[in-house]
């Protein structure tokens, strides 16, 4: 078992919940909120279905930083509000941790596409007037800069790629920061992917984004693992995870939501977006090996489970081959949609809350699973004694990640 790593703080913002307590309640209730996408820059020739957060007043989220947040992108504003929760949850203000011993990893890249689209649209006829702060905000790293100023973080900080697995890749890097002794506290952020019409259309044309079968009934469109799935449905969301070495957390009396026991990242060696059961299997095996665990010890799987017909069936093949088909299995994306760069982190939060409280949240619209041999949590919540879970996130580019999470000791 590698050096034990504890999750000591969490933050989340979703359409159905702001804050961890609200999110846990929303998970138990199987709450979701799908509609047609309305945010400016998402309207196109056709209506796209997705899940958008409420308008929030972000400027007063952090005292004295209204000016800073006003010139930051929507994704960065949401991240600041999310990290505020996690920071306070981990008690980082009262614990005396040197700023240079805190690091910050933002998962995924290109998460500000609509910010770019809106800027180009606004200044199309007068490009000479484009705001100088766009030169700051177009970089993904601007989120790192904004967060590092808001929370006075002076250790290492960077954004990592990983596309739809970005949140998980961020957590893996946060773990490495601790393992390498570069930080005592490492914060992983799964940023809100601010999608524009262009990506919605391209992903639809690729056949990846669904919503055509239930084009007139948005609430039914997102249905991972169900026989009538037709692709992923987009969701807005952001999650932040505070990670520390267990002994460091203990010496300050910080509570732990759970443990990160193992992780892996494996490339398929294939650029084509087709999911690869071999790579997914390899990732799960490597994460279990790192955790020094057997598949039989895992109680629950939180799959990538997007609602893509090929993706869903490929992942089930890989889970079977990995010896994990005995586990309780649901699909968090059936409630949140696919939050792309944030999903990996959101699903870690969902997994930890379920492990802690001993339940598995419902999977919306799972009426007819594509493979009934799995232990599905369908549309009702299930109480379960859970100790260990596997959380998967996969991405275009042949990226496969798998995390092993454990209930707090």
């Amino acid at each position: 078992m590698p050096q034990s790593l504890a999750i000591t703080g969490l933050g989340i913002i979703l359409p159905t919940a702001t804050g961890i307590q609200a999110f846990e309640e929303a998970l138990v209730a199987g709450r979701a909120r799908f509609d047609y996408l309305k945010r400016p820059g998402r309207e196109g020739r056709q209506r796209f279905i997705g899940s958008e957060i409420d308008e929030m007043e972000f400027e007063s989220v952090i005292a004295g930083k209204a000016g800073l947040l006003r010139t930051a992108s929507f994704s960065s504003q949401v991240a600041a509000a999310t990290v505020t929760q996690a920071w306070s949850d981990a008690g980082l203000d009262s614990r005396r941790i040197a700023p240079e011993r805190v690091s910050l990893i933002v998962g995924g890249s290109n998460f500000q596409q609509r910010h770019q689209q809106q800027t180009m649209q606004r200044y199309q006829s007068a490009p000479q007037l484009v705001r100088p702060t766009y030169a700051l905000s177009f970089w993904d790293t601007d989120m790192v800069g904004v967060l590092s100023e808001c929370f006075h973080v002076c250790g290492e900080g960077y954004s990592v790629g990983g596309a739809s697995a970005g949140g998980a890749v961020a957590l893996i890097h946060a773990a490495r920061q601790l393992q390498m002794g570069l930080a005592d506290v490492s914060i992983a952020v799964g940023p809100l992917f601010d999608i524009s019409f262009w990506e919605c259309q391209a992903l639809t044309n690729l056949g990846a984004m669904g919503g055509s079968r239930f084009a007139d009934q948005p609430a039914l469109a997102c249905r991972p693992f169900d026989a009538q799935h037709d692709g992923f449905i987009f969701g807005e969301g952001c999650a932040a995870i505070v990670l520390e070495r267990t002994d460091h957390a203990r010496q300050d009396g910080a509570k732990a939501y759970g443990r990160l026991c193992g992780w892996s990242m494996v490339l398929d060696g294939l650029r084509h977006p087709k999911p690869n059961a071999g790579g997914q299997l390899q990732a799960m095996r490597a994460a279990l090996k790192m955790a020094e665990m057997e598949p039989g010890q895992i109680d629950y799987v939180n799959p990538h489970g997007t609602g893509s017909p090929l993706g869903d069936s490929t992942e089930l093949d890989a889970l079977k081959a990995a010896g994990l088909s005995h586990c309780w299995i649901n699909a968090t994306k059936s409630l949140t949609g696919h939050c792309l760069t944030a999903s990996g982190a959101i699903e870690v939060v969902a997994t930890l809350l379920q492990l802690r409280a001993g339940f598995c949240h419902p999977t919306r619209n799972l009426r007819q699973p594509i493979d009934s041999s799995f232990r599905w949590v369908k549309e009702s919540v299930v109480e379960a004694d859970l100790r260990y879970a596997v959380s998967n996130s996969f991405a275009f580019g042949g990226v496969n990640t798998s995390l092993v999470l454990g209930k707090a000791a």
Binding site: E59, G64, A66, G67, R70, T71, A126, Q128, L129, V130, R131, P132, T133, L136
Partner: protein, 81 residues
Amino acid sequence: MTKDNIFEVMKGHIRCVEPEMEGTPISPNDSLKLLGLDSVARTEVLLLTMESLGVTVPNTRLAAAQNVGELVEIFASYTGG
């Protein structure tokens, strides 16, 4: 557009770019720099004002202004106000 209108537009952008200025009176004799706006904030205010007024004023002309009042004069000469 009158000079008073231009002044109001510019004040709105100053308060937007620098939220701490909310509630602080701004007079034509004030300089953006002494009001506490850094170089990025000053450029933002000027470009946002150009966008609102629908004019483009070269930096070289604006650089000569000593205070908000002189900036308003320069903008007025471009809007025909």
